[in-house]
Symmetry: C2
Subunit: 72 residues, 2 copies
């Protein structure tokens, strides 16, 4: 995130509640996807593509993801 | 999350882009805190308390967190 007004607001609120030991707050989105894929590499490629095309705004956000195999 | 209209909206958008293999989408908040603490247990207790008091809405959200030691 290049600018994070929400993070700054949360930091101020925490300070007002007495949490002075918090020096930085960044607020972003968390997205959990359940996806059907033949394997990890395929799932990874799909998630990467969806993240770039729709889920993130590449101008002002970066993204990362982890894969977890769902119980079958 | 008990209801997640944003997740449903994202799922529909992904479907419209051809990502039919996504069966579930949940959208939530991601918050990164930099906090000064004498140790892991102390940091954990602080984060837990902040999460319950301010960062989450306990009626409609749950939360989880992980700790990472920052480079000193």
């Amino acid at each position: 995130m290049v600018l994070d007004p929400q993070g700054a607001a949360v930091k101020n609120s925490l300070k007002a509640l007495g949490y002075e030991d918090v020096s930085q707050v960044r607020v972003g989105k968390y997205i959990e996807l359940t996806i059907e894929a033949p394997g990890r590499e395929d799932a990874s490629a799909r998630v990467d593509e969806m993240s770039r095309r729709l889920l993130s705004n590449p101008v002002i956000e970066d993204f990362s993801y982890t894969l977890e195999e769902a119980g079958v």
